[in-house]
């Protein structure tokens, strides 16, 4: 029993990342009808927002300490970060410690801007072009974005620590009445899961309960009619694209303590997110979230040693196998709507 709970928990954090990226992909696909191959790159940009903030916090200047000399007799210098200079030592230490959550504040405007520029500057011109062209141009963009990040940050993974409070593991088993250490789960993964639930809930609430969201949903169902009613649907879709980019970026920000980001981390995640979207059903937002968590959990069950002993290597391919089975059995995916991508 405890093993099962542990695997479900393990699947949740990966599932959260899949669900967040797939949610953004579906949002873009549902509104603009474009498959965004650059979505993985958006995740990476988000992750590197966290890295950047960490670096900004450690920018320092040197002052000469008149009271001390070093062993050569020169006056010693002290390095002070600007952060300490402006906010004092205590708050500065706190801010450095909490740099990853604080990076959310940096990532939101950055990602919104990136999203708007991408949609207005590039993708807008591809609505009338064939789907293949849309895929190809976003694929090219993904390469370019990745290489730009690689140029600035290098190719090695960059460690970014979560706040000290969340380092270590929580002993969930005790709470649920199991023995101690039966279910140990890192705090940060729990944070990530809760964070993603909040984001997913936020996106759904935004679409469901605001006028803006209502218009977007109406546009997803019938773009032309909404346009005929005198609503500037293009503008709303641009903002939707920016929101989707932000969701991917925030998923990246919070993911940095789990896996140190490299410039190409998005490439792998993107393929899995596509599989998630296909399994969930193209164009279905609840389907994307459901399939994200489902595949995350299935993957974590497949990587149990008991399973691997019977079917070696199943953990590497289970996600793709699921996708094949779903496509063969339910071609529209778990919650796909009729009429989406049927041609």
């Amino acid at each position: 029993m405890d093993a099962i709970i542990l695997q479900i928990l393990n699947g949740l954090d990966k599932g959260s990342a899949y669900a967040l990226i797939a949610l953004g992909l579906t949002l873009i696909f549902g509104t603009l009808g474009v498959v965004n191959f650059a979505h993985g790159a958006l995740f990476v940009i988000g992750a590197f927002c966290a890295v950047t903030l960490n670096r900004i916090f450690s920018v320092s200047f040197e002052t000469i300490d008149p009271t001390k000399v070093d062993f050569l007799g020169n006056p010693a210098t002290i390095k002070t970060t600007y952060l300490e200079h402006w906010f004092g030592v205590g708050p500065a230490a706190w801010m450095t410690d909490w740099s990853v959550p604080l990076a959310i504040l940096l990532a939101i405007p950055v990602m919104l801007l990136v999203g708007v520029i991408m949609e207005r500057g590039l993708i807008k011109h591809f609505y009338k072009r064939p789907h293949a062209d849309q895929i190809l141009v976003t694929f090219g963009l993904a390469i370019v974005l990745q290489e730009i990040i690689k140029f600035f940050y290098g190719a090695n993974p960059i460690q970014t620590a979560p706040p000290d409070v969340f380092i270590g593991t929580m002993d969930l088993g005790v709470w649920l009445g199991f023995e101690a250490n039966a279910i140990a789960y890192p705090y940060w993964r729990m944070v990530y899961f809760l964070f993603s639930t909040v984001i997913i809930g936020g996106v759904f609430a935004f679409l469901q309960f605001t006028t803006f969201g209502m218009v977007v949903r109406a546009g997803m169902a019938d773009r032309e009619t909404v346009g005929l009613l005198g609503i500037d649907i293009d503008k709303r879709f641009t903002i939707t694209f920016a929101i989707a980019a932000t969701v991917a970026g925030l998923a990246g920000v919070m993911y940095t303590p789990i896996t140190p980001p490299t410039y190409d981390i998005g490439v792998e995640l993107l393929v899995l997110s596509f599989v998630v979207v296909v399994v969930g059903g193209m164009g279905s937002l609840p389907g994307a979230v459901l399939a994200g968590f489902l595949l995350g959990i299935v993957e974590s069950f497949a990587s149990m040693n008991e399973v691997k002993n019977i079917l070696p290597g199943i953990d590497q391919i289970i996600v793709y196998l699921m996708a094949i089975i779903v496509i063969l059995v339910r071609p529209r995916g778990l919650m796909g709507r009729k009429g989406v991508m049927e041609d």
Binding site: V35, L122, H125, R129, P130, H131, A132, D133, I135, L136, V137, F139, G140, L141, I143, V144, E147, I148, F151, V267, V271, F274, V275, V277, V278, M282, P312, G313, Q316, I317, Y320, L321, A323, I324, I327, L328, P331, M341, D343
Partner: protein, 400 residues
């Protein structure tokens, strides 16, 4: 001639001449000069890549160019072909005939399986499905089937599959060269032709690849001009209408998929023949993306485009990665000092290790402004000069 129309035959002849003369044409600068080191492409390794990737992209073009189905998983078939060829080297010996035959067969089988599943959907779904299936094959090659300690180690994982002395190689005779060979002619054997300061290398492996390239090109022309090719074009222009007339298009698309998979297998087998090792990174989906890039650069749906695209991509990849800061300084030495440094700093991200960025940008530019690739570019330039001539529809008009 050869069952081709006159125009197509001329095209084939041009390609044949290109293949034969490539070692000379690609070596325009005398040996030992700085220009030769930078721009000469007439060495066997690179020319083999031109020919082999040409084959690969010609095959890809039969699928994407004719039917419009964009596969993002073709590198997996290339990898499967390479593995099959290296296994033949390991089991039978270094004769390349069984290796190439098996690599085509294996890739054909794989593409049949992948095509059967993914051709159930079209458009974006198809692209994503091929992507997922190819990535699954990559994962299996990389980890599951590549674990050296397990009893089913087919791919040797991260190290890559290669031939060891302890391998059976049952057909190996003592007179054979210790390298892939055709009837005793090693793929590595080469003749140097010294003319003046020029050093031209005529390499057996290259000419074999070139021969296969010609064969592949010929078959592709025949497919383009056949009723089968016409059917594939019909699928591209309006599949729904074909379905409404009561025609089942799937056998045709599946056939096209398998043919292009076999082309990829042939290319993979040839890669293994030129250098008998195979690694999983050949199968990664970004490698598939590169195949797509090559075909778009050249011009999709045209006959000559794939060869141009593959050559262009490989050549510029090669040159761009060779340019470093000191070369840039040398080139820009005519500029005033401060300005020179600024220019070098500006260009620096795009060359050397950053060649990926340049090719990515170039690829985007081509997609945005020149969807027909190099061929369309050539046609536009041609039109500028021959505006007064009656515009006869050219041979390379993209199939729309």
């Amino acid at each position: 001639m050869l069952g081709l129309e006159k125009k197509d035959f001329t095209l084939l002849l041009i390609v044949a001449v290109m293949v034969v003369l490539a070692p000379f044409v690609l070596n325009p600068f005398p040996e030992g000069t700085a220009m030769a080191q930078m721009f000469n492409a007439g060495y066997p390794d690179l020319m083999q890549r031109f020919a082999i990737f040409g084959i690969l992209v010609i095959g890809f073009n039969i699928l994407f160019g004719l039917t419009g189905y964009l596969s993002f998983g073709h590198a997996a078939f290339l990898g499967a072909g390479s593995y099959a060829a290296v296994w033949m080297f390991k089991l039978l010996g270094y004769d390349i005939i069984p290796a190439i035959l098996l690599s085509i067969a294996v890739s054909g089988l794989f593409s049949l399986a992948v095509g059967y599943v993914s051709l159930r959907r079209s458009g974006i779904y198809f692209s994503i499905l091929t992507l997922a299936l190819a990535q699954m094959m990559f994962n299996m090659a990389y980890s599951v089937l590549g674990n050296p300690s397990s009893s089913y180690n087919l791919t040797n994982g991260e190290t890559g599959l290669q031939v060891y002395n302890s391998d059976p190689q049952v057909l190996l005779s003592t007179t054979d060269p210790n390298f892939p060979h055709l009837f005793g002619l090693s793929m590595r054997s080469e003749t140097h032709l010294l003319i003046g300061n020029w050093d031209f290398t005529l390499n057996a492996g290259y000419y074999l690849s070139g021969l296969f390239l010609l064969l592949a090109f010929y078959v592709s022309i025949r497919i383009f001009r056949s009723p089968f090719g016409l059917m594939l074009r019909a699928v591209k222009s309006n599949q729904q209408r074909l379905n409404y007339t009561g025609l089942n298009t799937r056998p045709y698309t599946l056939m096209a998929f398998v043919i292009s998979g076999m082309y990829a297998g042939l290319a993979g087998g040839l890669l293994a023949c030129m250098d008998p090792l195979a690694g999983a990174e050949r199968m990664h989906w970004t490698a598939s993306g590169e195949i797509v890039i090559m075909s778009i650069l050249g011009g999709i749906g045209t006959l000559i485009g794939p060869i141009l695209g593959a050559g262009f991509n490989e050549y510029f990849k090669n040159i761009l990665s060779k340019i470093n800061d000191s070369v840039l300084h040398e080139w820009l030495a005519f500029l005033p000092d401060g300005f020179e440094d600024v220019m070098v700093t500006l260009i620096h991200p795009f060359v050397g290790k950053g060649w990926h960025l340049t090719l990515g940008l170039l690829f985007m530019m081509v997609i945005i402004f020149l969807p027909g690739g190099l061929v369309e570019g050539g046609q536009r330039i041609g039109k500028l000069f021959h505006r007064k001539k009656a515009n006869t529809p050219s041979d390379e008009t993209p199939t729309e």
